[in-house]
Amino acid sequence: MGEFLTTGAPEMMQNAGLMNDQLGIVYALLGVALATLLAGIGSAIGVGMGGRAAAGVLTEKPELFAKVLILQLLPGTQGIYGLLVAFVALGKIGVLGGEAPDAKTGLLYLAACLPIAFVGLMSAIHQGKTSVASIGLLAKNPKTFGKAMLLPAMVETYAILALLVSILTVSNL
């Protein structure tokens, strides 16, 4: 026991310190992955829904291509926001630049990435649904394009709020 205390304990403490350092980057990368994955998945679902509605309209009215394309692409921004937050974080945690964070800072990076991850996911899906409805509106009356575009754009507000929180936090850690 005494021998363990004199020889084993410092080694264990050293290992714990090493693990603490490694846990920091693991937490931070988890945040980066969530921001990219969830916001990206949301955008893929939203743009996919918009694409299916756009294809339905274009089968009958190909001349509406430019207008429906814009509506289809609106839910794509959340994926870009997630990527942006991920890049900023990668630039600070020792992957593209900066230093590897300790466990506590790593957890803070993870927490900072969560707003855009979850709000990105949900807002992109709902923006996709609104885009589909707007494409239906456009199909009925192409003159309503301005109004039709404004409706899904409203959903974007919340993705932008989440982006602001995530990016400000990550930048200031």
Partner: protein
């Protein structure tokens, strides 16, 4: 991962096609056309019948009906989603087959049988002719066996019709109940209510007794068949009074006026029920609603054209005008 089928593409395409449906103003314009030929020209100008539009009403309407179902086949290949809307044709064909084979009718098969059911007419005819009814769905086979037996025993074509009509409505209600979308359930229920009331009044007029009338009717949610039979044995107004006590009270004033007004009100009620589908974008409802709207439109145009052809006055024709879906 199994993803639930959405109908985003199909509904978006339907949104565009809905803009081509006839509006109430179009019906009014058709009504105002001075002749049958000019009414037909109005429809062809609207794109009815396509580039090589047939020159007679029946062919034109048939082409439009076929175009609707061809579109559904293109949008929903191999799907049974809209079978509820096609069932009545199967039973119509079964009725035609039974009568043609067991009464030796010489009527032209092309006029008797209708395309667009869930089973090819030739298959139904063959099953009846070879008495191989097991080839048909169970409910249909049972009804066919009963109708054939009654026809052979009594020779009463009307009785045979009653059995098959009742079976058709029961099958329709069951299909509506099992359907994926509530639009189809509404369609089945309103169709059955309309058919029950018309059958009860027709049977009462031809002197059938209460038990026979009650037996002809099919159970529909919200209708008490004994009360309906009793009212029908009195007169149409009594049926309208009874309707006022049911969930279908909105049909009562039209029934008080006339049978054609009642039929029109049933179609209008259906259109009212399906109208929310104009704002759905992921469900199968807009597809079913589009087919129902097209059928309603074709019925209305058929009545108007035949009225024009027979020189009926405008106020008589106006009674047949249905509300438009769009």
């Amino acid at each position: 991962m199994i993803m639930k089928k959405d109908y985003i593409f199909e509904d978006a395409r339907i949104r565009i096609l809905e803009t081509g449906l006839l509006t109430r103003a179009d019906f009014e314009q058709l009504l105002a056309e001075p002749s049958y030929a000019s009414a037909l020209a109005y429809l062809t100008d609207k794109g009815w019948g396509g580039p090589d539009a047939p020159k007679n009403a029946e062919a034109l309407l048939e082409a439009e009906e076929k175009a609707t179902w061809d579109l559904m086949e293109e949008l929903l290949p191999g799907s049974h989603l809209l079978d509820t809307l096609r069932l009545s044709r199967d039973y119509q064909n079964l009725k035609a087959a039974v009568k043609q084979i067991y009464t030796g009718s010489q009527l032209d098969a092309a006029r008797l049988f209708a395309e667009g059911g869930t089973i090819p007419p030739a298959e139904i005819r063959r099953a009846v002719e070879e008495q191989d009814l097991e080839k048909l769905p169970e409910a249909m086979a049972e009804a066919a066996a009963q109708a054939i037996e009654v026809l052979a025993r009594t020779g009463d074509g009307q009785l045979c019709d009653n059995i098959l009509d009742k079976a058709a409505l029961a099958a329709l209600l069951q299909a509506g109940e099992d359907a994926e979308d509530p639009v189809l359930k509404d369609y089945a229920v309103i169709t059955a209510v309309s058919a029950d009331i018309r059958s009860a009044l027709r049977a009462a007029r031809s002197g059938r007794d209460g038990e026979t009338i009650r037996d002809m009717l099919v159970e529909v949610p919200g209708l008490d068949l004994s009360s309906l039979t009793e009212a029908a044995l009195n007169d149409r107004q009594k049926v309208a009074d009874y309707l006022n006590l049911t969930p279908y009270a909105s049909l009562a004033p039209a029934l008080s006026r006339s049978m054609s007004a009642f039929e029109c009100a049933c179609d209008d009620l259906m259109i009212e029920r399906i109208r929310p589908q104009l704002y759905e974008s992921e469900k199968p409802g807009p597809l079913a609603a589009y087919v129902i709207a097209r059928e309603n439109e074709i019925t209305c145009v058929r009545l108007l054209l035949s009225g024009k052809q027979n020189g009926l006055p405008e106020d008589v024709l106006r009674e047949s005008l249905r509300n438009s879906y769009v």
